[in-house]
Amino acid sequence: MNKHLLSINDLSEDEAFEILNTASELAKISDGPMKKLPTLRGRTVVNLFFEDSTRTRISFESAAKRLSADVINFSAKGSSVSKGESLKDTAQTLQAMGADAVVIRHGASGAAQRLADSGWISASVINAGDGTHEHPTQALLDAYTIRSKFPEFSKSFKGLRVAIVGDILHSRVARSNVLLLTKLGATVTLVAPPTLIPVGVVDWNVKVSYDLDSVLKDIDVLMMLRVQSERMANSFFPSEREYSRGYGLDITRLNSLNSNAIVMHPGPMNRGFEISAESADSHKSVVLAQVSNGVLIRMAVLYQLLGGAALTGEVSV
């Protein structure tokens, strides 16, 4: 396996399933009898968060601690740190601290790759979200959640139908999920107003629809993405009301889903905007499971990267 996890492209189909399977085993032991495992004792994991994200940071921190790793949290809010200095100087400090893995969340697409390629650190780099590029562990925990609800897809996602709805253009969760779901064999449909679909989508192995209602009855998984209302200012959509009416998940749309279908959301949710409160809390929603599965997946990733002999440094593109 690759030394870094920067993108879903770093994983083969087998390696992705390996992570899901490892998480399944960890679920049995770590959630039950053995809360704490000695596997990463003596290893140091640094959470390098340039963007606020308490939820993801805590998830990674829990994961590392349950494996007995030492955790250092470094929070550098991008706006107050001058450009250029921020990433490089910080990285060199981490090297001095003896970090074995750096979990990085940054506002710039490609920041995780720059850190991995730079030669400033020798640690494994885990991308916890870089700009609008990717968020690989989110896609992995989403796949894990789907698998736990649909055991028939435990070895392959062929035949699974997923719709991803929302601001695809600016979403790293969308990019990682498209890559992973299609890699595992699922059929993916993106739904958004045309302004929020990237021009390069022709190269993605997905279908595109501007009409949410036409898609709902033929899917097993409905993944709602967060939409920022600030996008209105750049004319991506005329008003919150029009966006909600066209692309929001309300009770009517919820009820038109198949009885087995599930509703997902990476969080945080804008209740009442892209997803109604009742939809978020309905029995179809697996949002809470996504959060708890996050810790297991991150434990599995840390185990794969740090649990064995040191991995080679080739970065795939």
């Binding site: 490089k88 697409s109 490609g110 609008t132 990019r175």
Partner: protein, 431 residues
């Protein structure tokens, strides 16, 4: 200061000795023996290259480059004349600044430096700079450009085109519609969508080119399009020339060779404005340069210090150095691919730019009496680009580690040798 360059091959295939004295070619023949001998056996002699698009960074950003170091880089690249863009600090929008840059070039003595004047005051795009004053200054400015930024206000562009008719000047436009390129990072397309980087769509360049071509026609003035990068742009220039509009166009060496998939590693050495585009665009640009739709090659040499490239993509500066690799990259893209001959190359990189800009002593046919601005090239040698061996103060080359054809051996500036066996003559030229 006399030289005999012996056994040089000229473009017409003849092998001759060329004697230089008092800054001009004094004699051409065989068995000549004037002054110092320079052995050019098996090497090609061409008129010195002319670059109408260089950024010298002085005054203001001498940490990236100075007029002196930039001139040295030019000489190493076989250039005897370069035009220095106006986006310095302070901006070259007054006679004072352009005269300063001109004087610095003269003092350095490695190539002729011709300052370009800004079109608008402070490059702010709001009101015209004192174009007349700059034209009448010692720097005799004839080319004006806000390069780095676009003259986006159509009325201002019209006025600028009209105004320079006084002294047969040229407005050189950096075509980039600002409203369509807010926070743009790379070409908008398949790669940008994959990488999550804000796109710089081709239409933002083409829309301005289309507008300015029509303005130039309406006003009857000379328009020059800087660094063309799209297939659509080439089509527009072709259309304009067919209509008899007085437009000239330029392409950079890197846009003839590199494509946007190189950005996949987020290495900011590939971050440039206008951005690297697709294979389709590269092929269209090559065809355009080969058939003359694109008149010249301009390097857009843009030095940046390490701190401005050794960071995440969004924080990095736009630009690549190019003076020292220009000829070799054009050879690789155009001659090795059999799309152009050496004679075509000399036209695009020396004769045509000198003619457009009116640099009388450059881009001249090699004959007795012509100014001795000459470049001697080993057309058979290959070399590997090593950023640590560049003469430029900045090392942001996208060609690092690449093997390139054609090595520049000697450069002569107005009869003085400024480059000998690929090495700059320190402290100026040898007499």
């Amino acid at each position: 200061m006399e030289f005999t360059i012996a056994n040089a091959r000229l473009l017409d295939g003849s092998v001759v000795d060329v004697a230089i004295a008092n800054g001009v070619i004094s004699e051409i023949g065989n068995g000549l023996n004037v002054g110092k001998k320079v052995d050019a056996t098996k090497n090609l002699m061409i008129p010195g290259l002319v670059d109408l698009h260089t950024h010298l960074r002085e005054p203001g950003r001498e940490d990236s480059e100075t007029v002196a170091t930039g001139s040295m880089a030019a000489a190493k690249g076989g250039f005897t004349a370069i035009s220095a863009m106006a986006n310095t600090f302070p901006v070259a929008d007054t006679a004072g600044v352009v005269e300063q840059v001109y004087r610095l070039g003269q003092e350095a003595g490695f190539c002729d430096v011709f300052p370009i004047g800004a079109v608008t005051q402070g490059l702010a795009g709001k009101s015209l700079a004192e174009l007349g004053a700059m034209a009448n200054s010692k720097a005799r400015v004839r080319i004006f450009s806000d390069d780095g930024k676009c003259v986006s206000d159509p009325l201002l562009m019209r006025r600028a085109l009209e105004y320079v008719k006084t002294f047969n000047g040229i407005i050189a436009q950096h075509a980039q519609e600002p409203a369509l390129t807010v926070d743009s990072q790379m070409n908008e397309g398949i790669v940008s969508s994959k990488l999550g980087l804000v796109g710089w769509p081709a239409v933002a360049e083409e829309a301005i080119i289309a507008r300015d071509i029509l303005l130039a026609e309406h006003v009857g003035s000379r328009l020059h399009i800087c660094h063309l990068t799209t297939a659509g742009g080439v089509d527009l220039v072709r259309f304009a020339k067919a209509r008899g509009i007085n437009v000239t166009a330029e392409v950079t060496p890197h846009h003839l060779l590199l494509t946007d998939d190189l950005v996949s590693n987020y290495d900011p050495v590939f971050k440039v404005n206008p951005p690297l585009r697709t294979e389709k665009d590269v092929l269209a640009l090559r065809k355009g340069l080969a058939d003359g739709t694109i008149d010249i090659v301009g390097t857009d040499h843009a030095p940046h210090p390490n701190e401005d490239k050794d960071c995440e993509w969004q924080s990095a500066a736009f630009g690549m150095v190019g003076l020292e690799t220009a000829l070799s990259v054009v050879v690789k893209a155009m001659i090795d691919t059999k799309m152009m001959s050496w004679a075509d190359l000399v036209d695009r990189m020396s004769i045509a730019p000198a003619k457009i800009a009116g640099y009388a002593r450059h881009g001249q046919i090699i004959k007795v009496g012509a100014a001795a601005n000459l470049t001697i090239i080993d057309t058979t040698a290959n070399w590997v680009v090593d950023r640590n061996r560049l003469a430029s103060k900045s090392k942001n080359t996208p060609f690092e580690g690449m093997q390139l054809p054609a090595k520049i051996l000697h450069t002569f500036l107005n009869g003085k040798q400024v480059l000998k066996d690929g090495a700059i003559m320190n402290g100026g030229a040898i007499e």
